[in-house]
């Protein structure tokens, strides 16, 4: 196999084709693993992938959507940019769900699509689609390359934009003639774009103002989000929390930045979050938001959200400040920098009485909900006890990848995390079908870690074809389907708000074990409580991929719950 070895970040000029240049650019950006699906307009690039397969691994997914979610899972588990490749037309449009997901969840991803030859653009050629137009609202940046000579500069910009500041997806569409064309190849990483300020400077005055509020607060509360993880600020954040002694709650994308068992970790906010942090959001005198964006699933009704409290917002994206919740003090910038700079300005505190309020409310939630969820003694299996069983086997060291729905809320509520970048789920977009391919990316990015996908019977069937990828590429992920034979979250809403009119939420499911076995994946089905612990043990002990179906109670609901449009303090326990 003949390959040219140009893998350094800066190289001497030499004449190569556009498609070969794409490979060199990817290697120069440190990419060694990409996900994709070939097709007509991207064939020149695939031809080069064939030649470079010893340096750049391409994983063939079974659908382009799977490629994007796998790239997302990889990015979320590693912090690096995930890469997905597809052909023009339907290949490109199939990427859109994953791109939209990455956009709303700030996931660094570069998508490369093939495009018809430039002389055919606009002529409705075979498999031509205006993917630039289609992807514009859901990408951080996109660009159509029509000349081979543009490739190094454009790809350098793509990676820089995807990973810098608030990360996001970038789509680069490359016409077939640009892939075939020749260029004098030379690569330089991009470090600056004049119209783009990825990370605003941290202002000393903002830090001072924030410190004054923090030091004066009697009942302060922290709500942190994924920004802490994206900014790799976990250690600084922990020091800040420990020094100030402030109770810290998390959004579902923020969890795992601080270990679950940390004494200052008071749980999850939002619609199905914990009782205490939701209730006390409307009692605290200072709300410190760090790297989160006040999503409506977090805030409930904005009219009644923390109106009694002063708000400090640590945020990298100026467009998020005052978007949903007014910030009395906005600390713009990278939270790793701002948190480390504010450390010397804040005074140590314990807030003992205030913490007791959280403990008292937790006790109520534990007695009413958690106890039954985790250790039920009668009735069908609960999703919570499956999570509890997984916690016992993995000791909180696994990466948990969840899909969307009831099982996702249960996974986020009950999964134990000891290390960061361990909770991978579709937060903002709520993309059913996310988990199975995302788990593939997470496992390939972090092969040394246990990766457990928790999926509902509905979402599982949206990307079930990726079992083929798991089989072919030998990805040892553990797949747990919590089967309640319903689209459970929608059914729960139908029960609570639509007088139990279960419109199109009941699922008649196939034999999931037989399907997994058809892909040569070990599989087991559990229907009884006494079988559960053993099955989980066997799954975790298995060195290969493993499928476990757990038949859970059909009509269980997830509580606590803030009804849509209600106030966080109106959270219901039943």
């Amino acid at each position: 196999m003949e390959t040219k070895t140009i893998t350094q970040t800066t190289t001497k000029k030499q004449t190569i084709t556009g498609s070969e240049a794409i490979i060199h650019c990817l290697l120069a950006e440190g990419v060694n693993l990409i996900y994709g699906y070939p097709g007509g307009a991207i064939m020149p690039m695939y031809d080069e992938l064939y030649k470079f397969q010893d340096k750049l691994q391409h994983v063939l997914t079974r659908h382009e959507q799977g490629a994007t979610h796998a790239a997302q899972g990889y990015a979320r588990a590693t912090g690096k940019v995930g890469v997905a490749v597809a052909t023009s037309g339907p290949g490109a449009t199939n990427l859109i769900t994953g791109i939209a997901d990455a956009q709303i969840d700030s996931t660094p991803m570069v998508c490369i699509t093939g495009q018809v030859a430039s002389h055919l653009l606009g002529s409705d050629a075979f498999q031509e689609t205006d993917i630039i137009g289609i992807s514009t609202p859901v990408t951080k940046w996109n660009y159509q390359v029509t000349k081979a000579s543009e490739i190094p500069e454009v790809l350098a910009k793509a990676f820089y934009i995807a990973r810098s500041g608030r990360p996001g997806p970038v789509l680069i569409d490359i016409t077939k003639d640009a892939q075939f064309g020749e260029l004098d190849y030379e690569y330089q990483p991009c470090t600056h774009i004049r119209s783009y300020t990825p990370t605003p400077e941290v202002q000393e005055e903002a830090l001072d103002a924030a410190a004054v509020l923090i030091n004066a607060a009697k009942k302060p509360m922290i709500v942190w989000g994924q920004g802490v993880i994206l900014g790799e600020a976990e250690e600084t954040f922990k020091t800040f929390v420990e020094k100030t002694g402030i109770p810290a709650a998390w959004t579902i994308l923020g969890v795992s930045a601080l270990e679950t068992d940390h004494p200052l970790n008071v749980g999850m906010v939002g619609m199905h979050g914990n009782y205490a942090p939701n209730i006390l959001t409307n009692e605290c005198d200072l709300l410190i938001a760090i790297g989160m964006r006040f999503d409506d699933r977090v805030t409930g009704s904005l009219d009644t959200y923390a109106t009694q409290a002063k708000v400090i917002h640590f945020e990298i994206d100026p467009a998020e400040v005052n978007k949903n919740v007014y910030a009395d003090v906005a600390v713009l910038g990278d939270c790793k920098e701002s948190l480390s700079k504010i450390l010397s300005k804040v005074t140590p505190n314990a807030h003992t009485e205030w913490h007791q309020r959280f403990k008292d409310l937790y006790k109520i939630e534990y007695d009413k909900i958690i106890q039954h969820d985790l250790t039920p003694t009668k009735g069908g299996l609960t999703m919570g006890e499956v999570l509890d069983g997984i916690n016992k086997e993995t000791k909180g060291d696994a990466i948990i990848v969840s899909d969307v729905g009831q099982h996702q809320m249960i996974a986020c509520r009950y999964a134990k995390f000891n290390t960061t970048k361990s909770n991978i789920t579709s937060g903002g977009l709520g993309t059913m079908g996310f988990a199975l391919p995302a788990a593939i990316g997470a496992k390939m990015g972090k092969p040394e870690r246990e990766v457990v996908a928790i999926i509902g019977d509905g979402g599982y069937q949206m990307t079930i074809q990726e079992l083929g990828t798991i089989f072919q590429s030998k990805v040892p992920v553990k797949i747990v389907v919590l089967n309640n034979e319903f689209l459970g979250m929608v059914r729960q809403w139908q029960q609570l708000f639509f007088d139990k009119r279960y419109a199109s939420t009941e699922m008649i499911n196939p034999d999931f074990v037989a399907i997994a076995k058809g892909y040569h994946i070990q599989a087991q089905k559990v229907t009884k409580r006494e079988e559960l612990a053993g099955a989980i043990k066997e799954m975790i002990a298995c060195p290969d991929s493993y499928f476990l179906e757990v038949c859970v109670e059909k009509e269980d609901n997830v509580f606590p719950m803030i009804p849509s449009g209600a106030s966080v303090s109106d959270i219901r326990l039943e």
Partner: protein, 181 residues
């Protein structure tokens, strides 16, 4: 909060597709862009977009944030009518006969300070720049005589106060940017 007319000025790199990105921000929020114009700006290689929208101040602040988030947008500003000097331009195409047969038309043209761009045997073209109300008045006055074609441009505006953009760009020179020969 009360809706007001805001003139949005956006300084950008010239880039295909940027119009799409900017208009998508308004479209998502169901905001009608009442007028739009694009041109070069006072700074070399920097383009300037001028949009007019009717929104609340709270809305426009959020929109400006989302516009500035776009990679190729250098800076965006919003201003009220009181803070800007603005104008629109309109063209009227009218039958030439009327110019001689209808004495009233000559008076209208004179009083409106409109300019005759061209005259030939068939038609003449009248150009009027100014405030929307002045153009609308002229349109109303000419309409009874028959207008063959009418077109009005988007608003263009400069601000009464200084735009901090030039200073900003001074610190962000293009030379620093990734240069690929």
């Amino acid at each position: 909060m009360e809706k007001k007319t805001y003139t949005v000025s956006i300084y950008t790199e010239n880039n295909i597709g940027l119009l799409n990105r900017i208009s998508a921000i308004f479209q998502r929020r169901h905001i009608n862009v009442e007028s739009l114009s694009a041109s070069e700006s006072e700074i070399d290689d920097v383009f300037r977009w001028t949009l007019v929208v009717q929104v609340t101040e709270a809305q426009i602040k959020k929109i400006i944030g989302q516009i500035e988030r776009q990679i190729e947008v250098i800076k965006a500003y919003y201003h009220t009518d009181e803070e800007t000097i603005f104008t629109e331009s309109a063209l009227f195409k009218i039958k030439s006969d009327l110019l001689f047969e209808e004495r009233q038309i000559q008076n209208i043209i004179k009083e409106s300070h409109a300019r005759i761009v061209t005259v030939n045997k068939q038609f003449f073209v009248l150009e009027k720049s100014g405030m929307r109300a002045e153009i609308e008045l002229l349109h109303r006055e000419l309409k009874p005589f028959g207008i063959m074609q009418f077109v009005r441009s988007g608003r263009i505006a400069v601000t009464k106060s200084e735009m901090p953009i030039s200073q900003l760009l001074g610190s962000l020179t293009k030379e620093e940017e990734y240069a690929f020969s």
